[in-house]
């Protein structure tokens, strides 16, 4: 049998016993804790609870209806029409209309949208583009295209985030975000009455809160899965949903493709995998993992300093800045990469990443949704700043699309990483979404009344 890509569940706690499957109970407050901001995509827990997209992805990557019930393409994928689900209400009670969806989409991506124009036509939304958009239904499931109410009946922006999702925003105080069940959710009223998300909580504090019964769902960085196991936490681990990659600017000191290729040959993925990420995830040299394509082994991942030296040909570029997210494992990974590159003759300056600073190299985590491979490649390329359309879905065409892009060496894949969370004994029926985040709207509580 083939290995399946379904969510891999890693039940580490001996306390968890197989109990009879009863139907979920309604009620109670679910308490989650996160290290970052639950509002930031693509892994912000709160956004996907408050907002819905026109489409959504199943955990197996298939595109499913959400706010749109059906869609058709015309003119060789240059025009798409999405028909809205009738009877859906925003949290403020106003109806979901095609005009409201268009207003939201226009704010979500501006010039970087996959389409040239989007407009309401009756109760449907029509997208048009100069280039074909074969993957539009899958792309619309992405975090950046979630639909928010942008203007209320009085013509002003809503005072609080307002969507159509299973939960509505109820308040934020002292680092605690509170969401309340949307009784008229088109997907059905969620099981928990309320979700509280404690923000900016350090991982160790999250684990302590879980063990003391003060939290129900906490984060487990992949590199700390072994520690979680030692502490007998019950962890749920997603498939590989993030690509850790080095983005390389093709202007300035690295405008030479030979230099970029030399740099790509100098990175030591094994050290990152074995030391920094504690053998979690997989080494990556292609955009998509073997499990999605079956051909990832064609991209060699081994470090080759000799070849790097040949490609560099004695050239020594001016010092290169390497941007990274401060704190945590990403900073350690950046330090390790800087060491690799210095060994290959590059001079590297580590710089904390910020929107204002342009760096020659940037260490990034790109979302790797379980979409059909052609859509997953296109989404990755768009996240990396490439406006590309991947139309052909045959393995041979996808291989060549990846090969052509990676041969430019503007993105150096390093590791595929999963997401992981640990749950307390009150949580039942937790599943992860296609992006590896917990689907809290489907969680019910064991001790709910």
């Amino acid at each position: 049998m083939l290995r399946r890509s379904a969510i891999s569940l890693l039940f580490l706690s001996l306390a968890l016993t197989a109990s009879a499957r009863t139907r979920p109970h309604y009620g109670g407050t679910l308490r989650a804790e996160v290290e970052g901001d639950p509002w930031n995509g693509p892994d912000g827990l709160a956004r996907s609870l408050i907002y819905d997209g026109l489409t959504r992805l199943d955990p197996d990557g298939s595109v499913r209806p959400a706010l749109a019930v059906e869609w058709q393409s015309e003119s060789d994928n240059h025009r798409w029409q999405f028909h809205l689900r009738p009877g859906v209400l925003f949290h403020d009670g106003s109806p979901l209309t095609a005009a409201a969806v268009v207003q939201s989409l226009n704010l979500s991506c501006n010039a970087a949208c996959p389409w040239t124009a989007v407009r309401p036509v009756g109760s449907s939304i029509v997208f048009t583009a100069e280039s074909p958009m074969p993957n539009l239904p899958a792309l619309l499931a992405g975090d950046q295209f979630l639909v928010a109410l942008t203007v209320t009946a009085n013509g002003r922006p809503p005072a609080i985030p307002t969507g159509t999702g299973a939960f509505r925003f109820a308040g934020f105080a002292d680092g605690l975000m509170t969401l309340a069940a949307n009784e008229s959710s088109w997907q059905g009223r969620p099981f928990a009455d309320q979700i509280q998300i404690r923000t900016h909580r350090a991982i160790r504090d999250q684990w302590l809160d879980l063990s003391l019964g003060h939290a129900d769902i906490v984060e487990v960085p992949p590199e700390e899965l072994r520690q979680a196991q030692q502490q007998h936490l019950a962890a749920i681990v997603s498939p590989l949903v993030q690509l850790l990659a080095l983005q390389v600017s093709d202007s300035g000191p690295l405008s030479s493709s030979m230099l970029r290729a030399a740099l790509a040959q100098a990175v030591d993925r094994s050290a990152l995998f074995n030391v920094i990420y504690q053998k979690q995830g997989e080494i990556a040299a292609s955009l998509l993992p073997q499990e999605l394509t079956g051909y990832a082994f064609l991209f060699p991942a081994a470090r080759d300093l000799k070849k790097s030296s040949e490609l560099r040909g004695g050239l020594t570029p001016s010092p290169l800045t390497l941007g990274f997210e401060t704190g945590g494992t990403t900073e350690l990974a950046a330090q390790r990469l800087a060491l690799n590159l210095r060994e290959a003759g590059f001079e590297i300056l580590l710089v904390p990443a910020s929107a204002a600073t342009r760096t020659a190299l940037t260490l990034r985590k790109l979302p790797l949704d379980a979409a059909p491979p052609s859509a997953a490649i296109e989404a990755l390329l768009r996240a990396a700043g490439e406006a590309a359309s991947v139309a052909n879905t045959t393995p041979t065409a996808l291989y060549h699309a990846e090969r052509d892009f990676l041969d430019r060496c503007t993105l150096v894949p390093l590791l595929y990483l999963p997401r992981a969370y640990a749950t307390g004994p009150r949580v039942r029926d937790l599943q992860l979404t296609a992006s590896g985040t917990p689907d809290l709207a489907s969680v019910s509580l064991e001790d709910a009344p």
Partner: protein, 418 residues
């Protein structure tokens, strides 16, 4: 004579080269090998190359020689001969796979240049075996769809699937259920997140009715049309659901009657949640708490006992105007259905319980007194059991299963006496 022998040898050689062996011809790999060989040959052209094969897939190792032989034969038919390691060209074939399909990849190396050929073989479909001990539960898959199925019902000439927004009628053709008609549930309202529905057949098996939260759908059929044409009409209602299946009586002459001669038990459903309120009709004379499941259980000591699974997880038996707790139900899930079989006491309760994290199992129990006794080994299912219902012929149970890859299966579960 010498020429004749040479001719026979030549014919044999040609047959040997251009016709795969009996084993190879019947091999499931023939088409893929031919496709990959053609792609390789179009890149490499006629000549010699060193062929290596490695297996990164779940294909058993003992299949590799067959695959190698097929590749060599097909390459030869394109004038590409597999040669020794000292050849200038090399063909590195990798038998790979992704999460869905088998993928065969050939790297064709000529000097410093490497070109790629890929063949997609499609999915591997290997049926799983089920265990067999004691009274044996068996399952037969009737349907598999991507749309969520809330309930299924088999009528003498149709299989009905209740989806969240449509009712689908399947007709049998060549031993398979094929979609015949699809009717939208025109009255739509927000449903519970744990969606439920019930399908009840008429006593004569000619029609059915469907119940969803706040909605009732009735069916009728035009007996003159071929194939049968169904008319399905839905309306909003707060009426109690029919929750017990009248036994099939094909001699009944009440076309269009949804309930036949035996009145079903009716129960009020909480449309915004996932359970029945506890108010049922006809009144049993006892107060019921909210419950998930109710089934009519034939008992020697009474005419109409009801088995009730409360939302508090307790199973009770309403019998002779009294409500009694049933023990031995700790492993029961929220759903059960009654099965009639020639085994044991003749009546079993089939209930779901969770096995591995993503999969459930079904198990048959008997209830001679007030303690549930296991009557079968657990029957492993392919995912989470989301609904159970007694078949109209009473000799089977329909199980709706949500599989790990989010498909919905309808299985008919029957008992085999050991």
């Amino acid at each position: 004579m010498k020429h004749q022998i040479k001719l026979i040898w030549l014919i044999a050689a040609v047959i040997g080269v251009f016709t795969p062996s009996a084993t190879a011809a019947s091999s499931p790999w023939q088409e893929a090998a031919a496709d990959l060989a053609a792609q390789i040959a179009s890149i490499l052209g006629p000549g010699q190359a060193h062929l290596t094969i490695r297996n990164l897939s779940a294909i058993p190792t003992d299949e590799i020689p067959t695959i190698r032989r097929l590749l060599e034969q097909n390459l030869k038919s394109h004038s590409v001969t597999a040669s020794g390691a000292d050849s200038a060209s090399a063909i590195r074939v990798t038998l790979s796979e992704n999460a869905h399909n088998r993928i065969w990849v050939a790297e064709i190396v000529e000097g410093s240049e490497t070109q790629i050929a890929i063949v997609d073989l499609g999915p591997d479909e290997t049926p799983a075996a089920s265990p067999a001990t004691g009274l044996i539960l068996r399952r037969q898959e009737l349907l598999s769809t991507r749309e969520p199925i809330l309930a299924a019902l088999e009528l003498p000439n149709a299989l009905i699937a209740l989806e969240t927004e449509q009712i689908v009628v399947y007709a049998q053709a060549a031993g398979l259920w094929r979609e015949q008609q699809r009717a939208p549930i025109t009255v739509l309202r927000p449903q519970s997140r744990d969606r439920r529905g019930v399908l009840i057949g008429s006593a004569n098996g000619s029609t059915f009715e469907a119940w969803l939260p706040g909605i009732r759908c009735a069916s009728s059929i035009d007996p003159t049309s071929q194939p049968a044409s169904w008319k399905i009409q839905c309306r909003a209602t707060d009426d109690p659901w029919a929750v017990t299946q009248p036994p099939l009586d094909v001699s009944s002459s009440q076309p269009g009657s949804a309930s036949g001669t035996v009145s079903p038990i009716r129960a009020f459903y909480n449309a915004t949640r996932n359970y029945f309120t506890g108010v049922i009709s006809p009144d049993l004379g006892v107060d019921l708490l909210p419950f998930y499941t109710l089934a009519q259980l034939p008992r020697p000591s009474s005419t109409a006992a009801l088995l009730i699974n409360g939302i508090d997880g307790k199973v009770q038996l309403a019998e002779n105007g009294a409500l009694k707790f049933v023990s031995g139900t700790r492993d029961w899930g929220s759903d059960f259905a009654i099965l009639h079989s020639p085994c044991g006491t003749g009546v079993q309760i089939v209930t779901s319980s969770s096995g591995e994290a993503q999969s459930d199992s079904l198990r048959a129990y008997e209830l001679p007194a007030l303690e549930a006794i296991p009557a079968s080994a657990p029957l492993a299912m392919d995912g989470a059991v989301t609904a159970l219902a007694t078949a109209q012929d009473l000799n089977g149970v329909f199980a709706v299963v949500r599989t790990a890859n989010n498909r919905y299966e309808v299985d008919r579960v029957t008992a085999l006496c050991n």
